[in-house]
Amino acid sequence: MSTHCNIHFNHGQKTYANIYLRTDGYPDAVLPNFQIFFREVATQCDKTLYPSFFDDAPYLAAKFVIWQSDYNVKVISKFQAIGKLAIYGIAVVNEDSPMSEYIYTVDCMTQDVNGFPIVNCVPEPEIDEDDK
């Protein structure tokens, strides 16, 4: 639950934005969530109006804050009344947290077959021998 991580939104090696997640920062949660987030961005953004919505790191990082906050509020509001700005699970930072167990890089310069930015994790997630 309380696995902290930082997410760097990069162009190649250069980091343009840094986001801290306080919980569920392990690869099994973050990596699939990013694919859901990218799909949402692709669905909501009109490519004819905004052709570069995946290659702009600062704007993509802001979209991620909005998406993750909306998700957190939606989950918590199932159990208790919560204000839209009662956001404690995600933060904007200039430096990595010393408590972070993982660092992710969202490379806005390289895209996968779906046209989504490539996400990498440091340290590399360990693959269970049984899963191979």
């Binding site: 343009y16 840094n18 909501q44 953004c45 905004y50 979209k63 804050v65 909005i66 906050s69 904007v92």
Partner: protein, 136 residues
Amino acid sequence: MSTRCNIHFNYSDEIIANIYRHSDGYPDGVLPDLQTFFKEVKEHCGSDTRFNDPSYLAAKYVVWEANENAILEAKYSRSKTEPKRLAFLGVGVTLHDAPDGEYVYKVNCDEHDANGFPVVTYEPDDELNRDEEDNE
């Protein structure tokens, strides 16, 4: 309209988080907006505002800007569908000030006013001024 600015969320003069705002970045636009934002944080978070935590406050500000945009879109758009929150391009998260920013604001999370809100100061972006001086 398109006056860009950066908003630093500081603690003890250290920049902890930096947000780029793409429009209405002049003081008459940003200063009242920040007061409205602080009031809404207080309404939404009760006693747990964490006005002294610049990182969380910056994240809240990004979401608040998106909320404001959604309200405006719902008011003026002809579309009856839900506003597309992820199509929002009003703010960016950044590590460095934008070269075209005209103002830099400091939200000082270790200093609070009579309402308990962070004290906000601002100055014209020095880099832009330097460029203007160079051109003279």
